[in-house]
């Protein structure tokens, strides 16, 4: 369920360290925001699309990206054309295409674990300010585990609300769900304290 969009592969893009890819992506985003020339932006879009070919992204993933992009671009193009004119609409849509396809390319070619360790390494200089980068993996793992637990709780609470004929009431669903969520948090807190987490 939570596998993400990662697609294994051995292309140069897959093999580039996650940290470098992340930096390149941030750089690209900054450039895309500053550029106002449709020609240059179009060139960047073409380069990113070439990246998909280089990484041999499956047609399925390409289609998924294209679908997300298509809806957003169509909507934004119509809206900006109406409000700001054709030139501005083209500019905005080229920005969206460049930024969104590049970011998705990163997500498709980079494993979540690699991103986590790259961020951990990147945050290391912040250790003197009390940031604990080595806890990042633990946080991610604990949160994902909690997502599984809470999904189950949410399903049960919804069943219970339905049984009482209250399936349309937000309160009848959200309040028990939240209270059981907080109870789960207290249990997790006790378990973590018993392990000595958080006291260091």
């Amino acid at each position: 369920m939570l596998g993400g969009w990662y697609e294994p592969g051995s292309s140069p893009l897959h093999r580039t360290p996650a940290g470098w890819k992340l930096l390149a992506l941030l750089g690209l985003a900054a450039v895309v925001f500053v550029l106002r020339s449709p020609g240059w932006l179009g060139g960047i879009c073409a380069a990113v699309v070439l990246g998909y070919a280089l990484a041999r992204i499956s047609p399925r993933s390409c289609l998924r990206v294209a679908r997300t992009l298509g809806v957003l671009v169509a909507f934004m193009f119509a809206l900006q054309w109406w409000l700001l004119g054709l030139d501005a609409a083209v500019l905005v849509c080229l920005r969206i295409v460049a930024a969104l396809t590049a970011a998705n390319l990163f997500t498709i070619t980079t494993r979540v674990d690699d991103v986590v360790s790259a961020v951990e390494r990147g945050l290391r200089p912040l250790r003197r300010f009390g940031v604990r980068p080595d806890r990042l993996g633990l946080l991610v793992g604990l949160t994902l585990q909690s997502v599984t637990v809470l999904s189950k709780i949410a399903a049960e609470v919804r069943e219970a609300a339905k049984a009482r004929g209250a399936q349309r009431s937000v309160i009848a669903f959200a309040v028990p769900f939240l209270i059981r969520t907080l109870r789960h948090a207290d249990e997790l807190g006790e378990a973590l304290a018993a392990r000595g987490e958080g006291d260091r």
Binding site: L84, N104, T107, T143, T181, A185, G189, G198
Partner: protein, 191 residues
């Protein structure tokens, strides 16, 4: 719930983590029917408001940061199964980033209140929503290159968001009444 006065750091950590997961589940779970409406509405953006008004400013904002971090590293936790760093590169991304400020502002107001009731929560959540717009609208403005147009376009979200502010406040009020030591905890403790 045994030591309401001085919770361990582990309790802090657990609440932050579990609330980040809570926001995620609001997105995974199909929409909720509000009132007599027949179309399910997306409730995930009520999550940061609830995080702030239930956990307080610091832990609420931390849980939103953690949630957004998980989205950024590529987990499809946003409603509709969206995720990945691309979520931060579309025109509406400012509203996502603004969630952090939402939780912070809502939490600050709730922790200043002597008694946490519905009026305080309504104020806190409305302020939280405004805080979100303060990030989201300029971001959209930079994206489309026109700030007034960005503000105009954001007006379509106001009715739906107003409903979510009221719903989040009603829910938080009942939760605060059910767990009274929630509001006794934040901000007052030392160390």
């Amino acid at each position: 719930m045994s030591e309401p006065r001085s919770p361990l750091p582990a309790v802090d950590l657990a609440r932050t983590v579990v609330f980040a997961a809570f926001i995620a589940v609001l997105g995974i779970f199909p929409g909720i029917y509000v009132g007599g409406s027949s179309v399910p509405i997306v409730i995930q953006n009520a999550g940061p408001l609830l995080a702030g008004s239930i956990l307080g400013a610091r832990r609420g904002a931390a849980s939103v940061v953690l949630f957004l971090g998980l989205v950024a590293i590529g987990l499809p936790l946003l409603s509709g199964g969206r995720g990945g760093i691309a979520s931060f590169s579309v025109p509406s991304s400012g509203f996502l980033i603004g969630w952090v400020l939402s939780a912070l502002v809502a939490g600050l107001i709730v922790s200043r209140a002597r008694r946490v009731g519905l009026p305080v929560l309504l104020l806190a959540n409305a302020a939280g929503l405004v805080a979100d717009y303060l990030i989201g609208i300029p971001f959209l403005g930079v994206y489309i290159g026109d700030l007034p147009a960005a503000a105009l376009q954001s007006l379509i979200f106001v009715p739906g968001d107003a409903v979510k502010v009221v719903a989040a406040s009603l829910i938080a009020a009942v939760v605060h009444r059910a767990l009274p030591d929630l509001s006794a905890r934040p901000a007052t403790r030392t160390g």
